[in-house]
Structures are given as structure tokens and as C-alpha cells.
Symmetry: C2
Subunit: 256 residues, 2 copies
């Protein structure tokens, strides 16, 4: 009864089109009818049709572009397995994921010394302004940007070691686990805290996001015991990823 018939025309138009899309009677990639066609079908003005299309776009169901009819968006996300991730680096597991769905992986990076801001300092338990090594990654699949990663490592720990620059030296691209293990600080835990929201315009540009696509923001912190080894901000397009986390349950003890 609740959605028997939406009160507003634009919602009814959107509902009709959405039903066809979800039922696949409008196939992914296929074109929607013309603005004028839809308007005459429902006996409304093109303004109302536009509002309906705005809604569908905001739900991430269609692609729009000037000059050609809206098309049904396709959805084929990668799966990011956190467990795999923390055996090797931000590049290699990404490659593994991409290959699994027949996409060509690639990533670029940019490493430079930096000073810790408020947020980073807090996460790494260091002082504001302390030296950190910052590495920015952009991961691509089929040359489309998929994921942005900004990683910070305290130079107080890595300075002078072979892993001072994450993407150089013998362990280049080897991942935080192996890298820190090599200097005697094997990480013991990685904590990821994530949420989703709609992107800012700058993020839309960087990830080439289409309208209606949320982003997932991950804040990662890696520890050796209580000592923070690394932290990162990871931003990914929600329509291109599923995230998998496995929790191992502790064996039975004598805990109430």
C-alpha cells in the first residue's frame, strides 16, 4: 500500500523506468526512450520527465550525457578482500582483484616526505608537524581510476632503513606487512574504519565518478602491538567495489 502509487508524477515515471531496469527488460547499456516520448507516454511535460531522470541518475541506475539518450548503467564490481590485502601491498592485491574480473590493473605512486597534520599525527600517535613519508597511490583498472590511497608512515621509524621509501629498494611494492617485518617490526593488526557518503566535486573529478555514485572512505591503521606503523586514507567508488572482511572467531575459552 505504501508504494501502490506514488503521489507525484515524477516518482511514478521513475518507478516505471526503474522497474524495467531492475527487471532487465531494459538491458544494461541500452538506451531509454526520448524525453519527449516519455513525456507523451505519461502525459506530462518534459520538466517532470527530467526530474524523474534526475532521480534515477541519483540512484546510480542510468548514465546521462548531452546529445544522446540516457543508458542503463552496468554494475560489475571488484571484490576487495581485506585478508588478502594484508599479506602483500596496495598494488599486488589490487592486481589480483582486477584480474579476477578480467580488467587490466595498474597503479601509479608518488612518494615524498611530509609533515603530519592534526589527523595523521593523532592516528600515528606522533606530534603535529613531525616528519612522515607520504605516498599517494592511484589504482586503475582498464585505465579507469578506481581507488585513491594516501599512505603515511612515521619517519621516526623508517628513516635510514631500506623501506624508507615504500616503492623503492629491494622490497618495493611488497606491502606493509613484509616491509615492516623486514625491519623487525612485523605488524600485528590492521584496523580499517569505513563509511560511505556522496562524493565532493573534487573527488568526482579524481575518480571520474558519474553522478549518483557514492564513495567509500576507509581509514586504515596498522599496528605492531600498540605502536602505529602506518595509516592511510583510501577512497573508492562504491559502484566498482565490494569489500570483504573475514572475522576469525576465537576458539572456545572459559569466558562467560
Amino acid at each position: 500500500m505504501s508504494d501502490g502509487e506514488p503521489a507525484h508524477m515524477y516518482e511514478r515515471i521513475a518507478a516505471a523506468l526503474r522497474d524495467q531496469i531492475l527487471a532487465r527488460s531494459l538491458a544494461p547499456g541500452s538506451k531509454l526512450p526520448t524525453r519527449e516520448e516519455i513525456a507523451s507516454t505519461f502525459g506530462t511535460s518534459q520538466t517532470t520527465v527530467r526530474q524523474a531522470l534526475d532521480l534515477l541518475e541519483s540512484e546510480g541506475l542510468i548514465n546521462r550525457g548531452r546529445g544522446s539518450a540516457p543508458t542503463v548503467r552496468l554494475y560489475d564490481p571488484l571484490i576487495r578482500r581485506a585478508a588478502l590485502h594484508y599479506r602483500s601491498d596496495p598494488g599486488a592485491p589490487f592486481a589480483e582483484e582486477a584480474i579476477a574480473t578480467e580488467r587490466v590493473p595498474r597503479y601509479s605512486h608518488n612518494t615524498r616526505p611530509d609533515r603530519a597534520g592534526l589527523e595523521v599525527a593523532h592516528r600515528l600517535k606522533i606530534g603535529v608537524g613531525d616528519d612522515v613519508m607520504r605516498t599517494d597511490y592511484v589504482s586503475y583498472a582498464n585505465d579507469e581510476p578506481m581507488m585513491l590511497t594516501n599512505s603515511y608512515e612515521p619517519l621516526a621509524i623508517t628513516r635510514g632503513t631500506p623501506i624508507e621509501r615504500p616503492e623503492e629498494g629491494p622490497l618495493m611494492g611488497a606491502g606493509i606487512i613484509d616491509r615492516f617485518t623486514s625491519i623487525g617490526l612485523r605488524p600485528t593488526s590492521v584496523v580499517e574504519r569505513l563509511h560511505a557518503r556522496m562524493p565532493r566535486p573534487s573527488e568526482v573529478e579524481e575518480l571520474k565518478l558519474r553522478p549518483g555514485i557514492p564513495v567509500v572512505v576507509i581509514v586504515r591503521r596498522s599496528f605492531c602491538g600498540e605502536l602505529p606503523l602506518e595509516t592511510a586514507d583510501i577512497l573508492l567508488a562504491a559502484n566498482q567495489y565490494k569489500l570483504e572482511y573475514a572475522t576469525t572467531v576465537a576458539p572456545l575459552e572459559d569466558d562467560a
Copy 2:
């Protein structure tokens, strides 16, 4: 240079307002200027202002309602810690989370026998149409719905046991770990696969979502070894949650 000045007026208006919101010069909860005021400020029509407000709403930055000026939305998410979750039930850890931010937790449930659909059967490695016990939860904080959970347990495992109905008996509300442990099938792992997207209208209604709020969809599967014990679909409003997952890194072995 990329966003020095957006080409379109409505983007510039949105950017100006967004800056004020993010910089907190427009405080959360405060009112935005009138449609007419904004229009005259920027020298445009109210149509364009409306489009700018549509954009801000789609980013989840403002609340709108007929008859009163749009207001700046506040953001104060709960933190859902997966690790804590899998020591007790879908109710108790939720309570823990809610209390941490001074909200009053509550949840309702509805248990009934059901038959496995295609998706659920696949996840539980049982046949389509096999008997399952289905429990739907709605979790509230301050009487606002926050999370929807649909849980399925194969009756082939639980039938006739004290835990056949999750929310009844001595272990009512005790959580899947303790419950299955009590019948000799202590879960060994819980796998959560999640993604974010914009909600469907029915979900908007159930979670009383405001426009511009993505939802996070979690597919959970609990195992004892290779045996699936339970699966659930969890739906939560992205603006009300941060999700935390901790990965414990295996101690050093002789693995390349």
C-alpha cells in the same frame, strides 16, 4: 585550476554554500538563506538556485522540507565494530554502540519459518526451497530506525534444538556465536561482504532516509569450518554508521 570556477552557475552556488557548510560558518542545524535571497545574491533565477540545492541535498549536506528553509544536516555516526559484534548478538552489540554516543537503543524482531530462495540457498549450501528459520530485525536509536537485518538459519541444523528460534529460550538474544556454540557447532569464521549504493524508494521508507544518503549493504555468512550456519542481509544508513574491521596478522612463518 580544475575547480577554480565551475562553468555552471548552479555549481558555483552549490560550491559557495558547501564551503560555508564544511567550514562550519553555517553551523549544523542552522537555516540557509531563502531561495529568493540566494537568487538575488548570485543574480540568477530561482530555478538555478533550486538546482544548486538539489545538488547539496544529493551530497547529503542539507535537509529540506516544504515551508521552511533548508537546514545544515548534522553528522554523528555510530561505530559498528565487527569484532565486538561476533562475541554476542545483533541486539546487544548494537546497544553497546548506541550507548557510546548517548542514544537510546532498541530493536524489534520477527521470527518465522521460511523456505530458502535462490540466493539464500546458495549462501547456506542447501537446496532451493529447503526450510530455514528467518528472523527480521529492526534496530533503532532514539526510536529512529538505523539498521535492518534479515537473518536465515538452516532448520536442518537447528530444528529441535533450544536455539531453533533465535529470540526465544534460554539463549534468547545471545548472538550467533554463543547460540551455535551451545549446540556444539561453534562458529569459526564470519565473513562480511559489503558495498554501498543509493537506496531504493522502499528502503528510503523503511529507514526513513533523507535524500542524499547512501545505504551500506552487508551480506554476512557464518561458518563452522566449511559448514554455513547462518547468513544475513544487513542494510544500514550510511550517514549513521562507521564500520570498523580489525584484521589480525598471522605471526611470522616460513612463507615466501
